[in-house]
């Protein structure tokens, strides 16, 4: 009896360990798959031409695989989304942690969670059929598919994440910080501006990094709203294409496996993975620290 339970105890331990190792295997297989499948692509296309080329025309002759237009499109979405989501998200976090009563906080938080749980395809549809027509009133020359509408809707999508990460950060600060400042006669605005914001700078920076990474990886909303025209224009009223939208475009077309178009989607995926991977590592490492250690 003793030996039997002891044996079971051990085997349970090791069985769990096997399950745990699958999570590591997922990351490793992503790296192997992306490297392996894009190696065929890099046999045809020079790495430098890929990274610094300014023309992306994989489906037209003459074919050209310079990823800069896709990166430019992606970062237009990121810049627009962050410009909207960071100030608004911070304001919401400050309102929830510093101003709102316990009851209104309890009511607002779940609603923000709903906003975070809406699928990206729904946001894409919203951008296409609501935001773009709205923007057309302000900018009559805007195209049906445009970067501005995509960026705004991605900003709305990442808003709950920014708000809740910053809110957690403010609430994790020791109350003595606030009380000391209030004791000296500071007003809430001054406490937030001169005490709370400086004390959580690194956390806000980590939130910013994770938000950028999320915006880079966002797919369906930008595929629907921002279009499929890779260009290096920096014009927010024009149609653009992001890295993610290109991968979707390839998989919708009937490109045969092992053709260069097919392989190019893995090369783009590899760039996407590298960017988001390092941002996530840095962001998560900072967030894992205790609030004041992180200063």
């Amino acid at each position: 009896m003793q030996n039997k339970t002891k044996f079971f105890d051990r085997s349970f331990h090791y069985a769990l360990l096997v399950f745990v190792l699958t999570t590591l295997a997922v990351t490793l297989s992503v790296v192997v798959v992306l490297l392996n499948e894009s190696s065929g692509f890099f046999a045809h296309v020079n790495l430098l031409d890929f990274l610094f080329g300014t023309k992306w025309t994989p489906l037209l002759e003459p074919k050209s695989f310079g990823i800069l237009p896709l990166i430019c499109g992606t970062f237009m979405i990121v810049i627009g989304a962050i410009a909207f989501a960071l100030p608004v998200g911070l304001a919401i976090a400050i309102y929830l942690s510093e101003f709102a009563s316990y009851n209104s906080r309890k009511r607002i938080k779940p609603i923000l969670e709903v906003l975070a749980g809406i699928p990206t395809i729904v946001y894409g549809f919203f951008a296409l059929t609501f935001i773009t027509p709205l923007l057309k009133n302000i900018f009559p020359e805007i195209q049906i598919f445009n970067a501005l509408s995509g960026a705004l809707v991605v900003g709305i999508m990442i808003l709950p994440m920014v708000a809740s990460l910053c809110d957690d950060g403010f609430r994790a600060l020791p109350p003595s910080l606030r009380e000391g400042a209030y004791g000296l006669g500071a007003k809430p605005y001054e406490v937030i501006r001169h005490i709370l914001l400086p004390a959580s700078t690194s956390r806000i920076a980590a939130t910013l990094i994770l938000a950028i990474s999320r915006a880079i990886g966002e797919t369906m909303a930008v595929t629907l709203a921002a279009g499929a025209t890779p260009n290096l224009s920096f014009n927010f009223l024009d149609s653009i294409q992001t890295m993610t939208a290109y991968i979707v475009q390839v998989s919708l077309g009937d490109t045969p496996a092992n053709s260069i178009e097919y392989q190019s989607s893995y090369a783009v995926g590899l760039v996407l993975f590298i960017m988001t991977f390092f941002m996530n590592v840095i962001g998560n490492l900072v967030l894992a620290k205790k609030p004041l250690e992180a200063m």
Binding site: T23, A91, P119, V122, F125, L128, P188, Y189, T219, G269
Partner: protein
């Protein structure tokens, strides 16, 4: 500038931004309902997809979503709970390898979903030869929600007080008896909440399923795990991408069904959390 004025205007700024976010949610729901309501009826739920918007329906897409979600849950839940149990109850917390595992899980949770699509396409669809089947789709989604389930389960297990563990050990229980008999049952409500929320994420996921091939036109509901499939969000994408106005209206009707599904799951999750969670 006047200190009091500055303080007040800052307060109103923060408050109005919060109300704006809630307002956007209201506008979004109102806009979609206004567009979609006239197409949302029984015929829409029970018809096959069609070229004419009046006859089109979401029968195959709904069936596909149900199939996909059942198998996704089947694959992801055991792995997710086992991983969380190991990390919380067995792993030495400060060990560098355990910290690597932990950071890795956080990273997987933030990896773009389209990369999971490329992974699923290469491994499940091509290398293992599952083709564009429900099996390949649900395995892909299972990998996608695995880290979310792990993180939520870890939170729930962490919340179980140590006194419960100590009491069980004091009665002479072995570790597996403590973990399976005491810790896991106490953490189940929290774990359930996490699972339901991750399932609702899987229901709305579009990009990875497009990559593994859920885009095909299908005129029958799937009957086995090796059948081809389409799911609700992919069907919505298909309609939303067309220029004709009527297709936008049926896309909106599809979105209404999708949101109704998600909101009810969300409601169940919140109810479980508030009613059954003993430890916080």
């Amino acid at each position: 500038m006047n200190r009091r004025l500055m303080d007040r205007s800052f307060y109103w700024f923060c408050k109005s931004m919060t109300w704006m976010a809630l307002g956007i949610l209201l506008i979004l729901i109102f806009h979609i309902c206004r567009q979609g309501c006239e197409y949302l009826d029984w015929q829409f739920l029970s018809s096959l997809p069609s070229r004419s918007p009046e006859k089109a329906g979401i029968k195959t897409a709904l069936a596909g979503t149900v199939w996909i979600i059942c198998f996704t849950a089947l694959f992801a839940i055991p792995f997710g709970i086992a991983t969380a149990l190991y990390l919380e109850e067995y792993a030495p917390k400060r060990h560098p390898f355990v910290r690597l595992l932990q950071i890795n899980i956080a990273n997987l949770a933030g990896m773009p979903s389209i990369i999971y699509g490329l992974l699923g396409l290469t491994i499940f669809v091509r290398s293992l030869g599952f083709e564009r089947s429900i099996l390949a789709g649900s395995l892909t989604l299972a990998l996608l929600i695995l880290p979310v389930i792990v993180i939520a389960s870890q939170e729930a297990i962490k919340a179980v007080p140590d006194s419960i563990r100590f009491a069980a050990y004091a009665m002479g229980a072995r570790r597996y008896q403590v973990v399976l008999g005491q810790v896991l049952p106490s953490a189940i409500p929290g774990i359930m909440t996490g699972i339901i929320l991750s399932i609702s994420r899987a229901i709305g996921e579009t990009a990875p399923l497009i990559i593994v091939g859920a885009m095909s036109y299908i005129a029958y509901t799937p009957e086995s795990i090796f059948d081809m499939f389409t799911v609700l969000p992919v069907q919505i994408y298909n309609w939303a991408g067309r220029p004709k106005e009527e297709f936008h209206a049926i896309a909106a009707a599809g979105i209404m069904v999708l949101l109704l599904l998600l909101l009810s799951l969300n409601f169940i999750a919140v109810t479980i959390r508030s009613r059954y969670q003993r430890y916080k």
